[in-house]
Subunit: 360 residues, 3 copies
C-alpha cells in the first residue's frame, strides 16, 4: 500500500486540519511526489524528511530527501539543497504529518459488531462504534460513537469506552472502569485488575482486602502494550487527560496521575502515589507508594523515587555503569562509605589541632 | 448498584463468618445505614471507615464518617465523636469487611460452560464450575467445583484448576500446570511459559533446552495481572500456599517460593532461586538466580539481591535520588571511590608516624 | 505420559539428528531404561543426568542416576559409579537431549484451521500450518508451512509468520510485522504495538507521532511471555537471527538487536538503541535510547546502560545490597560524596606542604 502525494497537497492538507499543525510555508516545487516520510539519513528523492535537532544539521548536506521540514534558522541552509517546509516547530509539524499520512494509508474503519463477538444484550453500543472479532462485552457496558474494540478484548460489566477511543486486540477493561474520549489502548493492557492489598493475619497468612474502587481514565490518554492500571481499594485510581504511558508500566491502586504526564516503559508506580501534571518519568523508574510529586517533575530513567518531590526539576539516582572489575572495587568500598567518612573526619580533627599548635 | 446495610447487620454478619474476622464490639446506633466503606478523609454520614495507623489519628476529629473501626487504645477518643467498632486488629477487620461487602455487591455466580467456549470433550469440568465466553480448554484439563474460568482464558492439556479458584479474563495456564484451591489469577497472567534455558553452541548460536517441568501453585495464591511464572527445566517451578504476587512479576524456571511470601509489582526472580516462607519483596526488586533467601526476609523496593541471605531482616540497596546536578557529581566521584579509599589510607599512614614523632 | 527409552536408543537417536548434538560415546549398559531426565541431585535409577559445571562434581559420588553425561576430564571418575555418556560439551548435548525427549513426549501436531478461528479469506495459510481455536487472522496475513498459531492469537493485516514458527496462546503480531522461520513466541507477547513517540505542543499536551514502521524478526528467534517489541516510527524495529528474549522484556521503536543476543527477564531497551551481535543482557537491566553496544558486550543484571559501549567485556552498575541500617548510613553519605572528595583533597594539600617543610 505505497502512497504517493504531491508536496503541495500535503502542506495544504495539514494547514486545513482542525487540531492544526503549526503554520508552515512550502519553498520549492509543489508537484514533487512524496512516497515516504523518513529520517534524513537514508532518505531518497521521494522522501519527506525533517530536521528538528540541530545535532543532525550535518546530515543536511548529504541527504537525498525530496524536501526537509526545518525551522527558520536553518531554512536558508536547507533551501540551498532543495525544497523545504519552513515552520516554527518542525518536530510538532512532523507529528501532525505522521497523523495525516497514517489516515491516508490505513484502511477505512468498519463500524458495527463482528458476528463472532459475544455481547450482552444490555450493553449500549453506539451504531457508529466497531466491535472486533471475538470481543466479549458484558452487561451494562457502554461503547460510544466512533470507538473501536479490537479482537479478543474483554470489556467488563458497566465499563465505559469513550468516543473515538481505540482498543487494540487483547485488551482488558474490567468491571466499572472507564476510559474517556480519543484514547488509545495497546494490546495486552489490563485496566482494572485488583490492587495489591492484604492485611497480615496473626498466623502469617495474608487476608485479602477486596478492591472496591475502579479506574477512571481521562480523554486523549494512550496506554502501552501489557501495561497494568489497578482498580482502587476504596476510591478510584485516576489517570488525567492527555497522559501517555508506555509498555509494561504498572500503576498501583489509588494512584492519581496528573494531566499530560508521560511515563516510559517498565515504570512502576506504587499505590496511592499522587503525581502532578506534566511530569515525565524515565523508563524503569520506580515511584514508591503514598508519595507526592509536584507538577513538572522529571525523573531520570531507572531512578527510584523514595521521597516526595515538591519542586519542579530533574531528579536522578542511578549507579554508574563501569567495567565489571572497577564496579566491583567501587561497590565493595561503597559498603564501607560511612566508615570512610568517619575516618576522614578523624583526620580532619587531627589536622586542625596540629595546625593550631603550630600557631605561635 | 448502591448497597445499604444497617451497622448492626454488618457486625453480626462478620461475627458469623467461617474464616472469621477478629472479635469486635459495636458501640453506637446499630440502625445507622451504611452505603459505603471509605477512608476517614472524604467520609460522609453513611460511610463506615477505619483507623489502623496511628499516623492518621488526627483525622478522627474532622471525619464525618458514620462509624469508625478502631483499636481499644483509641476507642474512647473515637467514641466521643460517634459510633465505633472496637476491635483488636482494625486493619484485619477492615479486610474481612471488604470481603463481605464485595459478596453483597457482586452479581451471583453463573455456573456451567458458556456456549462460545471451546472445550475438549476429555476435559473434566465440575458442573459447579463456570467457564466463561470464548475460553479454550484442552484435552485432559481438570476444573474443580466452584472454580471460574474467565473469558478468553487458555487452559492447556492436563492443567488443573483447583476448587473455588477464579481466573480473570485472558489468563494462560499452560500444559500440565496446576493451581490449588481458592486462588485468584488476574488478567493477562501467564502460568507455564518455557523457562529461559539455552546452551551456547560453538558457532555462537543458542541451542534450546526444552523445558520439561511444569508449574505447581498451592492454595490461596493470588497472581497479578500480566505476571509470568515459567515452567521448570527438569523439575517443577513451585509457588507455596498463600503466596501473593502483584502485577508484572517474573518468576523464572525452577524457582521455589515459600508459603505466604508477598512480592510487589515488577519484581523479577531469576531461575532456581529458593525463597523461604513469609518473605516480602518490594516493587521492582531483582533476585538473581540460584540464590537462597531465609524465611522472613524483607527486601526493599528496587533492591538487587546478589547473594544468598541467611538471616531474617530488612535488606536494601538503592541509589539515593537527588537533584540531577548533585547526582551527577556524586555518581562521577563514585567511579573513583576505591581510589579515594586508597588516598585516605595513605593520609592516615602519613598522619600516624607524624604523630608518633611528636611523641616525646 | 511417562516415556521409557533404552539408553542405547537415545544415544543413537541424538547421533542421527540433522542439526546434530556433539559427538558422544556411551560407556555402559545400552539396555538401561530411562524414564526421566533430571539433575544429579534427586536422580533415581532410571534418570539420565548430566554434569557440566565442575562445581557440582561432588554430587557424582552420591547420585543414584542411571547414567551421567560428562566431559572427558571427569569420565573416569563418573564411570566408576555407573554408565556414562562421554562428550566434549555435556551441556550442549543435554540441550539436544531435551529437544529429542520433548519430541517423543509431546502429542503430534494437528495441521489445519480450527473451525472456531476467524480468518480473513485473503489470508494465505499453508495447508501444513495449524491455526488454533479462536485465533483471528486479518486480511493479507501469511502463515507458512509448519507454522502454528495458538489459541486466541491475533495476526494483523499483512503480517507474516515464517516456516515452522510456533506462537503460543494469546500472542499479538500487529499489522505488517514479520517473524522468520523456526521462531517461538510465548503467551501474551505483543509484536508491533506503537512505539512511544510524541511531540510536545506549546500548551503542554503531547501530539502523537504515528508509528509508520513495523517489526522485522529474523529466524530462530524466541520471544518470552508478555514481552513487547514496538513497531518503528519511520523505519522498522529489527530483531536479528537467533536472538533469545525472556519474559516481560520491552524493546522500544527502531531498536536493532544483533544476531544471537540474549536478554533475560524484565530488560528494557529504549528507542533507537543499536545492540551488536552476541550481546547478553542480564535481568532487569535498562539500556537508554540512541546508544550503541559493540558485539559481545555482557551487561550484568539490573545495570543501567547510560552510554554507548565500544569494547566487548562485562559491564556492571548495581548498588550493593546490605542490611537496611548499613545501607541507610552509606546511602546518606553517598549524597555527600563529592564533598568528601573535596575534603580529602584539602587534607592532601595541607599534608604536602607540611611534609615539605619537614624536609631539611
Amino acid at each position: 500500500m505505497t502512497a504517493s502525494h504531491a508536496l503541495g497537497e500535503i502542506v495544504a492538507a495539514l494547514a486545513a486540519q482542525q487540531r492544526g499543525a503549526p503554520a508552515a510555508e512550502l519553498v520549492g516545487d509543489a508537484e514533487l511526489r512524496i512516497t515516504r516520510i523518513g529520517p534524513l539519513d537514508g532518505a531518497d528523492s521521494s522522501t519527506l524528511s525533517f530536521l528538528s535537532n540541530p545535532r543532525y544539521r550535518s546530515q543536511l548536506a548529504q541527504t537525498a530527501a525530496a524536501c526537509v521540514i526545518v525551522a527558520p534558522a536553518l531554512a536558508d541552509e536547507a533551501a540551498a539543497r532543495g525544497a523545504i517546509i519552513r515552520c516554527d516547530d518542525p518536530y510538532l509539524y512532523f507529528a501532525h504529518l505522521t497523523q495525516w499520512w497514517a489516515r491516508q494509508a490505513r484502511p477505512s474503519f468498519v463500524t458495527g459488531i463482528h458476528p463472532s463477538a459475544v455481547v450482552d444484550p444490555s450493553a449500549d453500543i453506539d451504531p457508529a462504534a466497531a466491535v472486533g472479532p471475538l470481543a466479549v462485552i458484558e452487561a451494562g457496558a457502554v461503547v460510544a460513537a466512533g470507538a473501536s474494540i479490537g479482537a479478543h478484548c474483554f470489556i467488563g460489566a458497566d465499563a465505559r469506552i469513550g468516543e473515538s477511543t481505540r482498543l487494540a486486540a487483547r485488551v482488558t477493561v474490567a468491571t466499572g472502569c472507564s476510559i474517556g474520549a480519543r484514547g488509545i489502548v495497546h494490546s495486552g493492557a489490563v485496566i482494572g485488575a485488583d490492587g495489591f492489598g492484604f492485611a497480615p493475619a496473626r498466623d502469617g497468612h495474608w487476608e485479602k482486602i477486596e478492591q472496591l474502587g475502579a479506574v477512571r481514565i481521562g480523554d486523549d490518554v494512550e496506554i502501552g502494550a501489557n501495561t497494568c492500571i489497578d482498580r482502587g481499594a476504596l476510591d478510584d485510581t485516576v489517570i488525567g487527560d492527555g497522559v501517555k504511558l508506555d509498555n509494561l508500566v504498572q500503576i498501583g491502586h489509588n494512584v492519581i496521575v496528573g494531566a499530560h504526564c508521560a511515563m516510559a516503559g517498565c515504570v512502576g508506580v506504587a499505590g496511592s502515589a499522587v503525581i502532578g501534571a506534566h511530569c515525565s518519568i524515565g523508563g524503569g523508574a520506580i515511584v514508591l507508594g503514598h508519595l507526592q510529586l509536584a507538577e513538572h517533575v522529571v525523573i531520570s530513567a531507572a531512578t527510584v523515587v523514595t521521597r516526595s518531590i515538591k519542586q519542579p526539576g530533574l531528579y536522578s539516582g542511578v549507579f554508574p555503569i563501569d567495567d565489571n572489575a572497577s564496579w566491583e572495587k567501587n561497590a565493595a568500598t561503597l559498603r564501607q562509605l560511612h566508615g570512610l567518612r568517619d575516618r576522614l573526619r578523624a583526620l580532619e580533627q587531627r589536622a586542625r589541632p596540629a595546625q593550631d599548635e603550630q600557631q605561635p
